[in-house]
């Protein structure tokens, strides 16, 4: 067996082992039936909730808040990152704030956000956006800064205009870094939305997890968690696909 095949086999073995553990542990009496239930009871619950339409409302609420916050983080983060790279004084000025940014527990400001933005989708979107945007900004700025000097010389020697140099050399060269930022930003905004829904919402997958937990409907709680996991994997995979497409087409 080749090394690559062994690696792939081991990866699947890890997943299978985790699934098996989830199934077996509750059955052999590890943990009580309120805390831990076998996967074979979670999955039917999940399908039932999807089929009955009970899940739709929550999925749409979470999906909507996530899509909005992530798109906002992308459309504000990439231009801000570009400006930060382009205007060195701006970078110099903001650097200490940016590097300590993630030390700020943005989530702790939620009462203020409720007061200012009201009890609606916006406090959630704001928290998720604020969590995600700086990862996008930083990686974009780094990406533009890491473009090899020789590529700009190629552009210069061909008499490219400033706009051509930025759009046809700098931007595509920075794409892998920008996507690193977007992938991080995506994860952060998803976490932001789910965590906010624990306290700031009466809908959404995060709300469903916390509501089910409080009401001892353990199967529903795990069903929601499973759906969040599936959503995160799917989104990451989709963004990876877009990156590969884009990299070959700019």
């Amino acid at each position: 067996m080749s090394f690559g095949a062994k690696v792939r086999l081991t990866r699947w073995a890890v997943v299978l082992a985790a699934i098996a553990a989830l199934e077996v542990m509750p059955r052999i009496g590890f943990g009580d039936s309120i805390t831990l239930i076998p996967l074979s009871e979670i999955l039917p619950e999940l399908f039932e909730m999807i089929a009955s339409g009970e899940m739709t409302e929550h999925l749409l609420a979470t999906g909507g808040a996530f899509a909005l916050s992530f798109l906002l983080a992308a459309v504000t983060g990439v231009p801000l990152g570009f400006l930060l790279w382009r205007y060195k004084p701006l970078k110099r000025t903001l650097d200490p704030y940016l590097t300590t940014y993630y030390a700020i527990p943005i989530f702790a400001f939620y009462p203020l956000l409720l007061a200012v933005l009201g009890f609606n989708i916006w406090p959630i979107v704001f928290i998720a956006w604020a969590w995600a945007v700086v990862a996008v900004v930083m990686n974009t700025a780094i990406g533009f800064g890491e473009v090899p000097q020789v590529l700009t010389k190629v552009g210069k020697s061909m008499n490219l205009s400033r706009w051509q140099t930025i759009s046809r050399i700098f931007f595509p060269a920075a794409v892998p870094y920008i996507f690193t930022g977007l992938k991080l930003g995506m994860v952060y905004s998803l976490i932001g939305v789910i965590a906010s829904e624990f306290v700031l919402s009466t809908r959404g997958l995060g709300y469903l997890v916390s509501y089910s937990y409080v009401n001892f409907t353990t199967a529903a709680m795990y069903a929601a968690m499973l759906l969040i996991l599936a959503l995160a994997i799917l989104l990451n995979w989709a963004l990876g696909g877009i990156e590969r497409r884009l990299y070959g087409n700019v």
């Binding site: 090899p148 020789v150 590529l151 010389k153 190629v154 210069k156 020697s157 061909m158 008499n159 490219l160 051509q164 046809r168 050399i169 595509p172 060269a173 794409v175 990299y247 070959g248 700019v250």
Partner: protein, 264 residues
């Protein structure tokens, strides 16, 4: 199209009052369709000289003429190939070669035709749809050469294009370059630190001094053209490389001694 380098000087401003003189008065004329190689010890300013000719760096004194035009920025007739990896990893081989034409608004059909022709000339047919990451270092440099030549430059500048490759590959690519160059009408100025490569390729070899760089000696290479790397084993080739080495050795010693004294 010929190149005239007239008393070109370059001084780099360091921190504070520190100044580094990189080039002190270079004079060199490269005639139409001539191939001139420049060899010199490391740090002698040969790459700086090439960038000045390319209009990428401003000289501190003197001037460069391409044909009749004094240089004060990149000249459309001048193409340059760099030592460092300079292909665009997000573009296929064909898209890399098409780049300059695309930027200058040449129509899709024409630029495809011209690019395919160049890809064939550099021997990369069959690799048009590949990305640079899938190619070897030597093949990527051929892509860079094709990308420069597709613009049909009257002057071709090369800064150690095969410098990152091993000696055998370098000589074989030297053969390729001779064949490619003979098909173009370009005047060539080639920087290298390999005496063999310089002698194999050029009509004249300019030996530069240790920093600050000046032209120490010009050696005429009267080996018959068309030639290929089999000339390496001829006594005439040995005599020429010996002659170049004699001067270069002296200059390289100066550089080494300078480094030992704590300079760089």
């Amino acid at each position: 199209m010929h190149i005239q380098i007239k008393d070109v000087r370059k001084v780099f401003e360091g921190r504070g009052d520190e100044k580094v003189e990189a080039l002190s008065g270079i004079d060199l004329t490269v005639s139409e369709n001539e191939f001139v190689a420049i060899v010199g010890p490391s740090g002698c300013g040969k790459s700086t000289l090439l960038e000045i000719v390319a209009g990428l760096t401003e000289p501190s004194g003197g001037e460069v003429l391409i044909g009749r035009d004094p240089i004060n920025g990149p000249h459309p007739e001048v193409g340059i190939v760099f030592q460092q990896e300079s292909t665009f990893p997000w573009r296929t081989v064909l898209e890399n070669v098409e780049f300059g034409l695309e930027m200058h608004g040449v129509g899709k059909k024409e630029r495809r035709e011209r690019s395919l022709e160049l890809i064939e000339l550099v021997g990369l047919q069959g690799f048009e749809g590949r990305y640079p990451g899938e190619l070897s270092g030597g093949m990527r440099q051929r892509v860079a050469i094709a990308r420069t030549l597709v613009m049909d430059p009257g002057v071709l500048l090369m800064d150690e294009p095969f410098g990152a490759l091993d000696e055998q590959t370098r000589l074989i690519l030297g053969d390729e370059l001779l064949r490619i160059w003979s098909r173009t009408e370009a005047t060539a100025l080639f920087i290298t630190h390999s005496i063999e490569e310089a002698t194999l390729l050029s009509d004249r070899v300019v030996v530069m001094s240790a920093r600050p760089g000046t032209t120490r000696k010009v050696v005429e290479v009267d080996l018959e053209r068309p030639r290929d790397s089999s000339v390496v084993s001829t006594p005439e080739f040995g005599r020429l490389t010996g002659e170049i080495w004699e001067v270069l050795r002296e200059e390289s010693m100066k550089t080494l001694k300078g480094q030992e004294r704590g300079g760089s």
